[in-house]
Amino acid sequence: MSEPETNDGISSPIMGIDRLIHEPARFSIMAHLYVVEEADFLFLSRRIGLTRGNLSAHMRKLEEGGYIEVRKGFMGRRPHTVLAITEKGQEAFKNYISDIKNALQGFE
């Protein structure tokens, strides 16, 4: 299998890594959503330690990528945002983990 090539013509296994997941905050969001069925905004911001603005920005990127779905509703009288990973997101996360493992194979 040929190695992915960047715009600079650099060829390296790490260049094929999914950059949407590679960002640490987005990785954390994906990892949490991968192990649960769904979670709300407050739960994730508490667990990951992100501010509301940051979480919102990363959430939007993952949603645009089709990796998560966001459901807005109400809990009582309060607005309530629930996030869940999509099938595409699950597949992408599994691939990301295996890509990272492959790319770093041989390093201690």
């Binding site: 990892a31 192990v35 709300d40 667990r47």
Partner: protein, 214 residues
Amino acid sequence: MNMVPSFDGKELEREVFFDSTKDGLGELLLGVSMIGVAAASASLFFLPLFIIPLVLGGRIAEAVRKRLTYPRIGYVKLREEQTGRAIRGVLLYELLVLLVAAIALYILFGDIMEFRLWVRWSPLITAMLILGLFLNLHDKSGNKRYLALAVLSVLVGLVLSFVSFDISFPYLFGYFDPGVVFYFLLMGSVMLSSGFIQFVYFLYRNPVSPEDRD
């Protein structure tokens, strides 16, 4: 040198499970159900005390969580284990316990058809059946308290099986030893108290922050 901590999926699952149960409501509900079983075992008159928590307990706990838990630590729904696999696992474990109990009764008393023997040892057998639940909760959450409850449950079952109660009374199957009633009553009270303390501590430690409101 700064080390980035390793990312462990299983550990993350445990942490999330631990987080989702730390309000103590599950334990409180289990305690109420156990007391309900004790009451219903003592007399059918108290059967509603067993049925009501069984039917409405989940819904009541969810309503309380919506009002008090989720605004504090957020909402999470855990992935449900494949139902068929989970049910098969539970049935297999229960069958195994009953089989071991039958073998033990045969070795010790040479008879497994004597109903009174089963009744006499029912607290320990019940404790062993419930042991699976505590071990499963410990495995899912990594919380050592469930191990302590497992040990306590077996000890209570063992002690109550050795104690002879002279107040056995007629019941559904003709004869009833109150040992198992005391088992459910004791364990139910422990679970109810520890669940309640956890719940109060949880509310105290996790105030609702105005900016956390979604």
